[in-house]
Structures are given as structure tokens and as C-alpha cells.
């Protein structure tokens, strides 16, 4: 690893002109990447990590101004390239893997054509055995039965296979650099593990990989070098293992601490303040536990910190105070009677081919009052269909659902309507579940039962917002103007309004940044304690389930394969499938976070 870097970036800045002035999306970023190395750029949404990747591909967009002191790739200065030269470089020397494989593949073209095009565009196609070339590439990208798959259309492939087809087309021209922007984000854990292995194999084969990710566990698994980016600034960079084991910047430390772990005892996640970055001084100062007047006044310059490391912080050497955690005062009361009883529920759908597909297969479980039951499984396992049956949005073909011992899955909606308020839903995308014309006040107010004056209703809504840690200044805002975390809180406030016994949470935190996720999880734990509400918690993220739930039910192909106490199931899974799921979860070695105690802290300004 002594040869010159393949990619050398110094002082990269990207600005966007917007109606409200210039947004500095990326500021003075330095990167350096050698062949056979993986560099991860990590950050929360809006941190500028994807903009960085696109700038390196010449795809920053027409509204962007890109500047750099150095931008060289394979010894070429990229700063002076024309659009045509960029096109020749992209795909040929730099491969690009996007997050969303379904939208980046042409739905009307066979997968093989997509891969073949990458060869043809760069004049690498061998007319006589193009098919063999494509099949070879698909096989290399880990696509099983490539000779069958290359004739199929994207919609006929699963998410994991689509991602692999995309990788196959990205590596078709043998680029020396692969830029992967959140390559595993929408995938199930087992598939995620396979795609990561595939990328790992490319790195070993000598390809340089620039990985863009928000997921520290994925980064830990793949990256040699890590750059942590916040508000467009690289706040810390260095070798992956050293950086993840002993983070120097408070932001890195907060990010790591907020990741819910699958192993070990359930620990209370620390609650980090969230909010927009500061305009002057250190951008992280408003959220930082160590921030002082100096941090707020001047931006910290990058300083060396150990071998190969650099950090932008005045306090990198200081002892960090333990972040406040949402320590449970008392464990939630779980009563013995079942609020929801699912008894032998089956739901089948007719597939377009005319055959029947069993989405939910003879599923039975009880949700006890005040309990949190996790429902885990991969996409297509029937989790969400089960949730819809529990919510009585769809009727089961066989079996029944009881609510407080009374028939709930009855055919007539009229017999159910008055009891609807007892089960509420919080789903993954809160914004779409709000009427776009409504203000926060009306969204939540509609869920407050009974007739009352507008003023009284407004007061009740303000009370509910306070319960979920929101200021009543948001009452007159529209949900579209809120941040992701705030929207999910509004959704929770609405779900709480009719004082339900059960809240069905369908992937409630999977669209959120880890620090915001930690806050919402703490909020859910508090609501359980205070409101005594039971949760049916659906998630593909086992760490989150470990954090929130008392019991867990594992689903595969529509059937329950294992049910039991969360700690027991995760420690010693009985079903082979559960063990497989657990083994596939990427882990970070975060010894320092699990060892420390969770003292009581001042929770001011936190949920």
C-alpha cells in the first residue's frame, strides 16, 4: 500500500444556489483512496455524503458549484473534464452503485441488457459471446442461475438480486473505483450480508471502493478507512477499527452510542440532542456535550490524532461525559390478560399467474396488556400483512382476531368502528399518513375523541405534543415543514390521542437517523411506562427490536418460526432461521459503550 493514491481529493466544496441563499453542502473535504482499499464516508441524512459522491462522478447537478484544490483520479486532473470526458470516465473507470435498485433499473429491459449496455457503451462488448460475458458478470456479482436471470425483468427479481444486477453492471467495465451510495440500505439483513461480502471480494480483488453509508455497522464490516462527515465537514477521519473502537470526535461517539446492539443485555440508548448544525463555529456545537464558548466562536481546524487520524475538535482528548440515557424508572407493567389474540390467522392472495400465494400462514399469538411484542422477519415474510389483519384493515381468510376477548375480525366495519380507537397505528412514513392540507393541530386534533370547543381541543393537542416532547409552537405548522423525527412524534401524538390499549408500530424508526431513532425508541419506552400501552412492534432491525421489546415473534414465509422472550431468543435461538438472521446482522465492536453505567442525568430538553 505504498503506491500513489488512486483517488486524491483536497479541499472539495460543493455549493448549491437555492431560493434562500447559498447552501454549502460540502466544505473543504479531503479524501484519499488507494487500490484495494475501502473508504467509508459516514454521516446522517443531509450531512453531504451523497453530494460528495456525486461530485466525484461529475454528477453534482446543474445548480451546483463544485470547487477543489486537488481532484485527481488515476493521475488525471478531473477538474477540467468536459461532460463528454466525464461520460467516458463514468462506468468505464468509476463504477456507481445506487441505493435504489428498482428505480435505477429500466423496468422495460431485461436485466441482461442492462449489464450488456455497460459493456457496449464503453466498447468492451464482444459481439460473438456478449451473452456469456453478461452471464459471467452476473455470476461474479453473486446472482444465482445467471443464465436464467439475465433474461428476466427487474420486477421479477428480489431486491437483493436487483442490487446484485446493478453491481454487475457497475463492475462490467472493470472500473478501478466503485462508488457505492448506501448499497445495502433497503435490503434484508441476510441479503445485506451477502452484498457486503460481494463488495468485500471486489476490494480484495484490487478495486477501490468508496462506500457512502449512514450505517456504522455496515461500515465496520467493510471499510478500511472512515471519514465521518457532519454538515458537509469531515469531522474525523482515520483507520476504521481505531476510529470505531475509540472515536475522537463527540459526534462519532454519539453516533456509535446510538446504535442499538443485538447482543448483550438491553441497554438504554443514550439520548443525544438533535437539531440543525450551527452556522458559525463548530457545526456540532449545538448538540455537543463538550461545547464551550470557543467551539461556538471559531471552527476547529483539523488536528492530527494518533496514527493516520485527524479530528476537527478542540476537545478530542477530553473525557467525555456519559450521554444522558432514557433510563427506565420502573419496568413497564405487563398484565396477564391478552389485549389482542391472533388465532390461526391465514391470508392468501392470488398472484398474477393465477396461483395462490399464502402471505400469512396459520399465525397465532397473544399481545398482553402493556407488553411490547416484536414481529421480525425479512421483507415478504408476512409481517405487514399480519399487522393489517390485527388492525382489521383486511379480513383473514381463516382464523380470528380478538380484541379484549371480543370478536374483532368481524365482517362488518360498522360493528368495529366504535372500538377502532383502541388500536392505533404508527407507520414508517408518517408524512403520507397526514392529510396534506392539515396543520399539526388538526392532524392530532382529529384523533382526540369527543365533541369540544376548538380552544379546548387545541389545549388537548398541545398536551399530547408535550407528551411526545414537542413544543406547542408546532401546532400551526404543516407536517411537511417538520423534520423526520418531529413527524414521527406527531404520528405518535395522534396515535396516543384516543388513549389506545395497543399501538401497532410498522417500521416506525427505519427511515430515521440513528440519533433520532434513539430518541424515538426512548420515547416509545416512556410512553409504554406512562400510558401503559401495548406495542406490536414490526421491524426488520433486530437491534431495535432487542431494545424495545419484551417478547419477539420471528416470521418466515408467512409462518411463525419462533416466539419467546427477546433476551432468550436472541441469546439462544431455537429455530435455525432465527440463528441465520442473527448471524447476518453486522456488528460493531463498541466495548466502551456497553461497559459504562447509566447514571441519571439532567434530561432537560430531551424526551
Amino acid at each position: 500500500m505504498t503506491e500513489a493514491p488512486l483517488l486524491e481529493v483536497a479541499g472539495l466544496s460543493v455549493d448549491f444556489a437555492t431560493r434562500r441563499g447559498v447552501v454549502r453542502a460540502v466544505r473543504d473535504v479531503d479524501l484519499s483512496l488507494r487500490a484495494g482499499e475501502c473508504l467509508a464516508v459516514v454521516g446522517e441524512s443531509g450531512s453531504g455524503k451523497s453530494v460528495t459522491a456525486r461530485a466525484l462522478l461529475g454528477l453534482a447537478g446543474t445548480g451546483a458549484r463544485v470547487r477543489a484544490r486537488t481532484l485527481s483520479f488515476e493521475g488525471r486532473d478531473l477538474r477540467r473534464l468536459s461532460g463528454r470526458e466525464w461520460r467516458r470516465l463514468r462506468g468505464r473507470r468509476i463504477g456507481y452503485v445506487l441505493q435504489d435498485a428498482l428505480t435505477s433499473l429500466d423496468p422495460l429491459r431485461r436485466v441482461g441488457h442492462e449489464v450488456a449496455e455497460a459493456l457496449e457503451v464503453h466498447g468492451l462488448a464482444d459481439r460473438d459471446d456478449l451473452d456469456d460475458q453478461v452471464i459471467g458478470l452476473l455470476a461474479e456479482a453473486g446472482v444465482p442461475d445467471p443464465d436464467v436471470r439475465f433474461l428476466q425483468y427487474p420486477h421479477e427479481l428480489s431486491g437483493g438480486l436487483r442490487q446484485r444486477a446493478l453491481i454487475a453492471s457497475a463492475i462490467a467495465a472493470r472500473p478501478s473505483l466503485l462508488v457505492a451510495d448506501e448499497p445495502t440500505t433497503a435490503l434484508d439483513v441476510t441479503v445485506q450480508a451477502q452484498v457486503l461480502d460481494l463488495l468485500r471480494a471486489r476490494v480484495r480483488a484490487g478495486t477501490a471502493v468508496l462506500l457512502i453509508s449512514h450505517d456504522l455497522a455496515v461500515v465496520a464490516r467493510l471499510a478500511d478507512q472512515v471519514s465521518v462527515i457532519y454538515a458537509g465537514l469531515v469531522v474525523e477521519r482515520g483507520p476504521a477499527d481505531a476510529l470505531l473502537r475509540a472515536p475522537a470526535h463527540p459526534y462519532t461517539a454519539d453516533l456509535l452510542a446510538a446504535v442499538p446492539a443485538v447482543d448483550g443485555p438491553a441497554r438504554e440508548l443514550p439520548l443525544v440532542r438533535t437539531g440543525p448544525p450551527a452556522a458559525g463555529g463548530c457545526p456540532y456545537a449545538p448538540r455537543c456535550a463538550l461545547a464551550d464558548d470557543r467551539c461556538r466562536a471559531e471552527p476547529p481546524p483539523p488536528v492530527p490524532y494518533g496514527p493516520g487520524r485527524e479530528v476537527r475538535c478542540f476537545h478530542a482528548d477530553r473525557e467525555r461525559p456519559v450521554p444522558a440515557s432514557g433510563a427506565a424508572a420502573a419496568p413497564p407493567r405487563v398484565k396477564d390478560h391478552a389485549v389482542v389474540s391472533v388465532r390461526g390467522v391465514t391470508k392468501r392472495y392470488r398472484s398474477p399467474g393465477g396461483s395462490w400465494r399464502t402471505a400469512v400462514d396459520d399465525v397465532s399469538f397473544d399481545l398482553r396488556a402493556g407488553e411490547a411484542l416484536g414481529l421480525v422477519g425479512e421483507s415478504g415474510s408476512g409481517k405487514s400483512t399480519t399487522a393489517r389483519i390485527v388492525l382489521a384493515e383486511i379480513a383473514p381468510d381463516a382464523g380470528t382476531v380478538l380484541l379484549d376477548g371480543e370478536a374483532w375480525s368481524v365482517p362488518r366495519e360498522r360493528d368495529r368502528r366504535a372500538r377502532r380507537s383502541r388500536i392505533q397505528l404508527v407507520d414508517q412514513d408518517p408524512l403520507s399518513s397526514f392529510d396534506p392540507r392539515f396543520t399539526v393541530e388538526r392532524v392530532v386534533g382529529e384523533a382526540v375523541p369527543g365533541r369540544m370547543s376548538r380552544r379546548l381541543r387545541r389545549d388537548r393537542v398541545a398536551g399530547l405534543l408535550a407528551e411526545v416532547g414537542l413544543d406547542d409552537a408546532l401546532l400551526d405548522r404543516r407536517p411537511a415543514q417538520l423534520s423526520g423525527g418531529q413527524r414521527q412524534r406527531v404520528a405518535l401524538a395522534r396515535a396516543l390521542a384516543p388513549r389506545p390499549e395497543v399501538i401497532v408500530c410498522d417500521e416506525p424508526v427505519s427511515a430515521l437517523d440513528v440519533t433520532v431513532q434513539a430518541q424515538i425508541l426512548a420515547l416509545l419506552a416512556r410512553l409504554r411506562r406512562e400510558a401503559g400501552v401495548a406495542l406490536l412492534f414490526i421491524s426488520h432491525d433486530l437491534g431495535v427490536v432487542r431494545q424495545v421489546c419484551d417478547r419477539v415473534a420471528v416470521m418466515k414465509d408467512g409462518a411463525l418460526v419462533e416466539t419467546g422472550d427477546v433476551a432468550d431468543v436472541f441469546r439462544a435461538p431455537r429455530a435455525a432461521y432465527t440463528a441465520e438472521l442473527l448471524a447476518a446482522v453486522p456488528r460493531i465492536d463498541v466495548g466502551w459503550t456497553t461497559e459504562r453505567a447509566a447514571p441519571a442525568m439532567n434530561l432537560e430538553g430531551l424526551p
Binding site: R19, W86, Q424, L425, S432, A447
Partner: protein
């Protein structure tokens, strides 16, 4: 997307300030003026029916800035007073078509499979005739006159509205916020009134603005054929028809009512499209 990235201290690309905005403002102002003329023609001119045979078929002159017609009536006054019947046909029929089409579309979307299918096939059949032909058919049955012209254009336009409303209602009915409302235990009637109808109507208002142009042209066409308001009522289409007989003597006589129709239709369409762009932009954001 493939524009080359700029490097080095270059100027930020300037935001495209909508050059069309001036045009939209102009169109809105003109449309507002026409509406004002329709509401209070007395503000602008007097005596649309004042006959003066001595001054027949004059070109524009002091006192008669747009000239006079074959009976010596002031063209400007007739244009101003013609705004009301012209707009009445255009706007009135659009409003009626919007209302009828909304009910029709909502019924098709929410009224069950059989009702929905029947309602939409009927719309397909009606839409397969050109609007003006449809309107002529209705007038042929009902007879000429302002009210019947309005009804005729309503019948011609309503199926278009029904189609849009049905599509939008289906989208809204499947939306997560209607799902949330069902989960709160709201009754179907309340969900329809509080969530579905308002969210369907917002894009409809824009469609209606654009449709005013179509309706105005259809109305003017009916009147041109003598099937609208009967003489001596001033109406732009009818004025145009009368001017046709005197083209040899005074070509300006046809010019002004034609320009009035064209400009009004254009301004209504421009305003409608601008509203649509704005609404869709908000949706995307």
C-alpha cells in the same frame, strides 16, 4: 444531469427566475378586468344598445374608440356589456360541469364496482364526441338561449371532470391518511367530507380554470351560430357572427370581438396553467 461540474472559484449558476411570471401577472390582470367588466359594465362604457344610423360602420374615431357597428352602436360599449353573457356561458357552465362531474366521479370511485363501471363507460361514450358537437346536440333538443347554451356546454364538459375526479378520488382513497382516518374510527361520510372531497377538489379548481377557456370558446361558437343569447343582447360570439356580414365594409368590426374572445381564453388558460405548475411544484416539494 450530465452537465460538467465547474471547478475553481466560478460564479454560482443563477436561479431561473420565472420570466413567465410577468406574463402570468399580465394574464391574471386581464382576466380580472374582464371579470370586473362582467360584474359592473357601467364602470367602463354606456349604452350598448344605443342606435345611431348616421354613424354606422365607422372605423375607430374619437368618441367611438373601437368604431361602430352596422346600426351605429358603439363597439366598445357592446364588448364591455358582452363580457357578462360571454363569461356567464364560459364560467357558469364550467362551474356546473365541475359540480356535476365531481358528484359523478366520486360516485364512480366510491360507489362500488358496478356503479363505477357504468358511470365511467357512460363518460367514455360522451367523451368520444367533440365537446361542440355534444353541445349542439343538447341545444338542438332544448332550443337556443343563454340558459340552454350553459346547460349544453355543461353536458359536454362534465364527463371530463368526472374522469379526473374519479382518478384523484381513487388515489386519495388509497392514501395513508385515509387509512389513518379509518383507523381512528371515523365514519365513511365524515372521511368523504373531511379528507377525500377536499383533497380531490384542490386539483379540480385548477382544471376548472383551464376549462374556462374551452367553455368560453364553445359558448362563443354556439352564439356565433345564433344558438346563445338572442339579439340585440351583446355577446362576443354573436357580435362576431354579425360582423361577418359586413367584413367588406369594416374589418375592424370582426377584429375586436375576436380579439376579446382570444385574449380572454388565453388569459384564463395561462392563469390555469400557472396555478397547475405551482400546485404540482408544491406536491413535489
Amino acid at each position: 444531469m450530465t452537465a460538467p461540474a465547474s471547478y475553481g472559484p466560478a460564479a454560482l449558476p443563477r436561479l431561473r427566475v420565472g420570466a413567465a411570471q410577468a406574463g402570468v401577472a399580465l394574464a391574471a390582470a386581464f382576466f380580472a378586468l374582464v371579470c370586473l367588466a362582467a360584474l359592473a359594465p357601467g364602470l367602463f362604457a354606456h349604452g350598448p344598445d344605443q342606435v345611431n344610423p348616421a354613424l354606422a360602420l365607422r372605423d375607430p374615431m374619437p368618441g367611438h374608440p373601437l368604431g361602430t357597428d352596422q346600426l351605429g352602436r358603439d363597439v366598445l360599449a357592446r364588448l364591455v356589456f358582452g363580457a357578462r353573457p360571454s363569461l356567464l356561458v364560459g364560467v357558469g357552465s364550467t362551474l356546473l360541469a365541475g359540480l356535476a362531474g365531481s358528484a359523478w366521479g366520486l360516485l364512480a370511485a366510491l360507489g362500488g364496482r358496478l356503479v363505477g363501471e357504468a358511470a365511467m363507460r357512460l363518460a367514455d361514450v360522451l367523451l368520444s364526441f367533440p365537446a361542440i358537437l355534444m353541445a349542439l346536440l343538447v341545444v338542438a333538443v332544448l332550443g337556443p338561449g343563454t340558459r340552454n347554451a350553459v346547460l349544453a356546454i355543461t353536458v359536454a364538459l362534465a364527463p371530463g371532470f368526472a374522469r379526473v375526479v374519479r382518478a384523484q378520488a381513487l388515489v386519495v382513497r388509497g392514501s395513508a391518511y385515509v387509512r389513518a382516518a379509518v383507523n381512528l374510527g371515523l365514519t365513511p361520510g365524515r372521511i368523504l367530507l373531511r379528507h377525500i372531497a377536499p383533497n380531490v377538489v384542490a386539483p379540480l379548481l385548477i382544471l376548472a380554470t383551464i376549462n374556462v377557456g374551452t367553455a368560453l370558446i364553445a359558448g362563443a361558437s354556439l352564439c356565433f351560430l345564433g344558438l346563445g343569447p338572442q339579439p340585440p343582447a351583446p355577446e362576443w360570439g354573436a357580435m362576431l357572427a354579425q360582423a361577418r356580414d359586413y367584413l367588406d365594409a369594416s374589418w375592424t368590426l370582426a377584429l375586436f370581438p375576436g380579439a376579446a374572445i382570444t385574449l380572454t381564453v388565453m388569459s384564463a388558460t395561462v392563469v390555469g396553467r400557472a396555478l397547475q405548475a405551482r400546485y404540482e411544484g408544491r406536491e413535489a416539494g
